[in-house]
C-alpha cells in the first residue's frame, strides 16, 4: 500500500487518491511552437526508470491536488509536496 503525503491530511492511503497523470511542461502557444514541439507536447512524456513527477488528487479526502516525485521501480515517494503550512 502506497502512502501519499497530502499537505493537509498527512500520509493517506493511495486508495483515497485518483491519479492525475504526469506533470507536463506548460502548454506551448500553438501559433509560436513548431509542429515537432507541438506533437511532442501532445504525445510524449518522460518515461524514466526512476523518479517521475506526477499529479494526484485526494478525491476521497480533502480534495486537494498535489504533485509528488515517485520512483517507478519501487513506488517510493522520493519527494512529496511542500506542506500547506
Amino acid at each position: 500500500m502506497m502512502l501519499i503525503p497530502c499537505p493537509f491530511c498527512g500520509n493517506r492511503s493511495e486508495s483515497e487518491f485518483a491519479y492525475g497523470g504526469p506533470v507536463k511542461p506548460d502548454r506551448p502557444d500553438s501559433h509560436v511552437t513548431d509542429d515537432e514541439g507541438w506533437v511532442a507536447f501532445l504525445t510524449t512524456v518522460p518515461n524514466p526508470v526512476g523518479p517521475v513527477h506526477e499529479h494526484w488528487w485526494h478525491v476521497k479526502g480533502c480534495g486537494a491536488w498535489l504533485t509528488i516525485w515517485r520512483d517507478t521501480r519501487t513506488h517510493d515517494i522520493v519527494e512529496g509536496p511542500p506542506d500547506a503550512g
Binding site: 500500500m1 502506497m2 492511503s13 493511495e14 486508495s15 487518491f17 485518483a18 491519479y19 504526469p22 509542429d35 506533437v39 511532442a40 501532445l42 504525445t43 510524449t44 512524456v45 518515461n47 526508470v49 517521475v52 506526477e54 515517485r70 517507478t72 521501480r73 519501487t74 513506488h75
Partner: protein, 416 residues
Amino acid sequence: MQNYSIFALVRHALNGHTTWAPAWRSPPLKESYDVVVIGAGGHGLATAYYLVKEFGVANVAVLERGWLGGGNVARNTVTVRSNYMRDASIPFYVKSVALYEGLADELNFNMMHSKRTMIDVVQTFPKMRELRRRQLTMDIYGSTYVQISTEEVRRRIPALTGGGPDARLPVIGGMVHTDAGVNRHDAVAWGYARGADARGVELHQQMPVINLLRGSDGAIKGVETPRGVVRAPKVAVAVSGHTTTLTETVGLRLPLRTMNLTAFVSEPVKPLVDVVVNCPDSGFYFSQSDKGEMVIGGAPDMGQSFRRDIKQHVFEDTVTAMLSLFPSFRKLKLLRQWGGHLDIAPDASPIMDETDVPGLFVTAGWWGGYKAIPAGGLTFAHLIAKGALHPLMEPFSLKRFKHLDYVMESGTTTAR
C-alpha cells in the same frame, strides 16, 4: 529439428526419455549479424522465426536479458481475441487469431489452443452502447460479436450469481465473441524458439543489451552487451516495457509510458466456467485453465511503473469486484500473483516502425500483446526485411503521431 509426435513419444519412452535432443542450440555469440532482435519474448521470437521462414533473412540473432520466454509472454493471461474498435485494428487481430489457430500444426508444438468464446458481462448502458458500436465495425471485418440477454449470460456462466436486480451494478446483458480463446503461453514462446532455431536463428539468453550503438552516419551499427559489441546493420527492439529505456541510449524519445498490469491465479478446482469471462464495468476478467485454476486479470496500477509486481490495493479492488459478481469464489485460495510492465502509447494502439535512427526498428505499445504475437511477428519481420510496413500495420507507424492520426483504442483494452 526432431519431430514431436505420438511415435516420437513412444520411441523416446522406450529409451527412458534419455534420447530427447535439446529444443534449441546455445551457440557462441558472434561479432556481427544481419539482424539483431532484442528480446526473446513472444514478439521477438515470432519476428525471428518469420524473418527466416517468410523473408529468407539469414544470420539472425535474438538477444535476451533473462531467460527465453520469461518476460511478458510468461506474465499474461493467454486470452486471444479480436474485439477491437477501429477499422485499422480489427483486421490485424483477426489475422492474428487465425494464425494462432494454425500455430500448433505450423510449429509442431501443442499450443493447447482452446477456442472457447469470450462473454462480456455488461453492467452499464454506456458500456453496452460502446460494445454494440464495436459490433458494427467488427462485422465488417469478419470478427464476431453478438448481444445476449441477462438470462442467457447467466445460463452460459452458471457461477455468475451476483449482479442481481438489487445490486449497485446489475447485469444488464452480455456480448459473445466466439473467436476468442486461450492457449498455452510457454508453448508459444518455445514453439517459435524451436522453429527459429531450426532455421538457423541464434538464441542468446542471459545476454542483456546495455546500449544501442550508432555509427558516425547516424545509423544503427550494433548493440553493446556485457560480452562486447555485436554489430548489425538492423536492430529490432521487441522488449515491451523497456522500449524507451533502450531507445533513449541513442537519444530517441518515443510516445510511450510504461505501466504495470496485474494478474493472479487460484488453486485448481473442478470445471466451473467454460468461457473467457470479461467484466469491463467491474474491471476484471478470467478464464479457467486446463488444470482448473482461475486465471484472473485486473486493472493496471495508476501511474507509470517498472515494478513488475502487484499492488495490494489494486489486488483488493479486483478481488472485491470479482466477489460481487462471483460470490462463490470467496472460497477460492489464490496461489500466485504477479505483474508485468507494458508500454502504452497515448492512443493505446501499438507502434511498429523504423525509427528516426536508420536501421533501428521498434515494435512496442502492445497493450495486451499476447494475442498479437503471430501477426505482430509476421508484420515486424516484413518491415525489417523489406523496409516497408506490412499493409496491416500501416496505420500503426510512428508517423501517425506527426499527423496526430491516432488509432484510438483507449477503453477497448484493460487500460483505464
